[in-house]
Amino acid sequence: MEVKQTVASGSEGDGGGLKRRFAVYGQKYGILVALVLICLFLSVANEYFLTARNITNVLRQTSINGILAIGMTFVILTRGIDLSVGSVVALAGIVAASLATTSSTAAAAGGPYPAVVAIAVGLLVGMACGAVSGVVVSRFAVPAFVATLGMLSAARGLTLLYGGGRPVPELTPEFRVIGTGEVAGIPVLVLIFAAVFVIAWWVLSATRFGRHVYAAGGNPHAATVSGINVRRIRFLVYVISGGLAGLAGMMLAARTGSALPQAGIAYELDAIAAVVIGGTSLAGGVGRVTGTLIGALLISVVNNGLDLMGVESYYQQVIKGVLIVAAVMLDQARHRRE
């Protein structure tokens, strides 16, 4: 809705020639157009691509990175970055798993607990990690890069300490539903992702908190003068990112059936990539969670397409690297034109 309004009023204002209108659409939807073209190409090039099974598979693969990327969007909108999400995935995953395992060696005392309890604790662990980063960034003015780099290391260390470096296997079927269950043929993983997306989209576009996030990132000084508590907003976005990383960690453990201490390594990079490809500016204040969704889907579709075409995974990494840089180069070129 929002997007359409902007385009309409923009073309009203300048008389709206066809060429101009294409340019406007290109700017607003460049990445979406790229995604559609790639999908079209893959549907023609590979008969398996457009099957229900493959699409479900792509969406399932997108879910975990997508949830991390949505949390990352909040953080990057405030000019921050959260490098710790991969480690928080592992920590929340292993803590929650220890409350929801039938394995006598790995279970926390008194376990297994109901899945609801395990999930609540996992979320709290993630939010607590985010809260620590948030305090360090907002109160002590430590650059987000440094603060969350510290959390990246610390949370990984805590994961290893907590589980003694061993995985937590034999999760209860009840807990595994969030990773393997299906509702009307749609994986629960994807449903959770969809719910997180809708809520995040609503929060950023319709609530006062959302306005504050954009203002705090767009010009923290002006936001402060206008009565916005920028420190509080900076703190909260890390709590959100941490909580979503905790959620993603549990989904990952539930999907694979056991929580691994080395889970989630380098996940922060894919999350940042999705945000950046989706057009959110690292300078803060500009970006949309819809862009992040498209960015995350683009990464998965490209990976899936390369898989289907039998391209070696080493090449896939190179191609992803090119994709990230190309997306930002296009964005920069657009800004220079303006």
């Binding site: 902007t6 204002g13 300048d14 402060t224 003068v225 206008s226 009565g227 916005i228 204040g285």
Partner: protein, 493 residues
């Protein structure tokens, strides 16, 4: 007779059809300090930027030691012995004094290695020669602003500069530090250098300069020896034109005290400031840059630490410890630098207008797009903001329209007291008039305006009363009947 160090005749420069300089004329003698005087927009900066080769001229002649010259870059000007010490210094903080002096032309000792010993010795000799008490190996970040300026002077001399331009060199200095600088200037004079001295502080000019040149509205007005001109005469030349119809003033101050401030102190050098403003009144705060004017507003708005003081609004004492609190009490703060702290340039006109009023534009935590849009439209109409749509980025608007967006943002909060910090800086004459109208209407409707301004015309044209700031304190108060440009400049300097 020796040729003049610098001689300029008939210099002109226009920016997109608007003349910034219509007749720049100037002459600098060897071993003298020449004050370049003029108000804001008098053309001083344009003149200097042409002399320094930063901008090309449209026409006119520049002679250096009697020979006609054209500089296409600051580098060429420097090569010809002209050096400038900017108002805002930008040293490489983490490097030593010697490294800064020889930046980009470090003496080498083979294999591309820097010869630190020779560099330090040469720098130290240079500094000692000027009687500057500075260690060449000290880090720039450890020096005071006055010492940084002395290093700049040494650097200029290391380029064999004969002409040194100083742009408001004392704006960030205390009195003792300024004396240090004046001593250095005397040393330079004795060495036969010529100094172009730009400053708004008249007492300084009378203390240090030998000759003066006045620019006004982009044109040469007069020049001569300091000994032959009185302070009053110089102010007359700088201020010049009579003020006609430039201002809109319809308000009359009432009797009811709206805001009273007593013994205000802050962590950012506001010292024991007391003032009050009535309903319907426009109070001006006049003072030089760095006199602590903006700091008063920052303290009132809860942006800096509270070191005591009492604020009474409509007869009730209030606490102002955060901007949100200040806004709730009905204060509005139009900051000095709208790009730095007034607007979110990447956001739309609507988002900017609504920014300070978000708690009242929705139900609970959920925003109402309809009410945001209505509010934005209301303010766009009220201030005549020229924009194709309220969803366009505010960065695309002209300076005057941007300033009106800031005003719109604050009027939406229905304030009782408007705090305006240099409200007409960088806006064109038409938009200026509209802003004056807004101020006047606001006061007439029962509000109070406190306006910081360094433009004497504006203070004389708009204020019912003015207080003059010096060094974080209020030095005097002038009523409208006694307001004049001469008096203000006199009191502030």
């Amino acid at each position: 007779m020796q040729p003049k160090l610098l001689e300029v005749e008939g210099l002109t420069k226009s920016f997109s059809g608007v003349a910034a300089l219509s007749n720049g004329q100037f002459a600098l003698e060897r071993g003298s300090v020449h004050a370049l005087c003029g108000g804001n927009g008098a053309g001083k900066s344009t003149f200097l930027s042409i002399v320094m080769g930063i901008q090309p001229r449209d026409s006119g002649i520049i002679r250096r030691n009697g020979r006609e010259v054209t500089f296409r870059s600051p580098r060429e000007a420097l090569g010809a012995g002209i050096s400038i010490i900017e108002q805002e210094l930008s040293p490489v903080q983490a490097m030593s004094v010697a490294e800064n002096i020889f930046l980009g032309r470090e003496p080498l000792a083979g294999f591309g290695r820097i010869d630190f010993r020779s560099m330090n010795t040469r720098a130290q000799t240079l500094l000692d020669d000027l009687h500057f008490d500075i260690d060449a190996r000290a880090l720039m970040m450890d020096l005071s602003i006055a010492k940084l300026q002395l290093v700049e002077i040494a650097k200029a001399l290391s380029y064999d500069a004969e002409i040194i331009i100083m742009d408001e060199p004392t704006s960030a200095l205390g009195e003792a530090e300024a004396d240090q600088l004046f001593a250095a200037i005397q040393t330079l004079k004795a060495k036969g250098k010529g100094i172009i001295y730009v400053s708004h502080r008249l007492s300084e000019i009378f203390q240090i300069a030998d000759t003066y040149t006045v620019f006004r509205d982009g044109a040469f007005v007069d020049s001569g020896a300091m000994a032959t001109v009185s302070r009053e005469a110089l102010i007359q030349m700088i201020v010049g034109r009579p003020l006609t119809e430039e201002f809109v003033k319809t308000n009359t101050p009432g009797d009811e005290m709206l805001l009273a401030v007593r013994g205000l102190n802050s962590t950012n050098r506001v010292r024991d400031v007391s003032f009050h403003v009535h309903r319907g009144e426009i109070l001006a705060i006049f003072g030089l840059m760095g006199s602590g004017r903006s700091e008063i507003f920052e303290r009132l708005f809860g942006l800096v630490g509270d070191r005591g003081g009492e604020v009474v609004l409509e007869g009730r004492p209030i606490r102002l410890s955060s901007p949100a609190e200040a806004i709730r009490h009905g204060l509005a703060f139009v900051t000095e630098d709208r790009k730095a702290s007034g607007l979110i340039l990447s956001a739309s006109v609507r988002e900017n207008i609504c920014m300070a009023h978000l708690p009242y534009l929705g139900a609970g935590p959920v925003m109402s797009s309809r009410r945001e849009a209505m509010s934005a439209r209301e303010m766009i109409a009220k201030f005549g903001i020229k924009t194709a749509s309220d969803r366009l980025e505010v960065s695309g608007l002209s300076g005057g329209n941007q300033q009106k967006v800031v005003l719109g943002k604050w009027f939406l909060t229905e304030p009782k007291v408007l705090l305006l910090d240099e409200p007409t800086r960088g806006v064109d004459v038409g938009a200026k008039r509209e802003i004056y109208r807004v101020m006047s209407d606001f006061a007439s409707a029962g509000g109070a305006v406190v306006m910081i301004s360094s433009e004497t015309d504006e203070v004389v044209g708009m204020a019912d009363r003015a207080i003059v700031m010096r060094d974080g304190r209020i030095s005097s108060e002038v009523s409208r009947a006694d307001l004049s440009a001469d008096r203000l400049v006199h009191l502030a300097a």
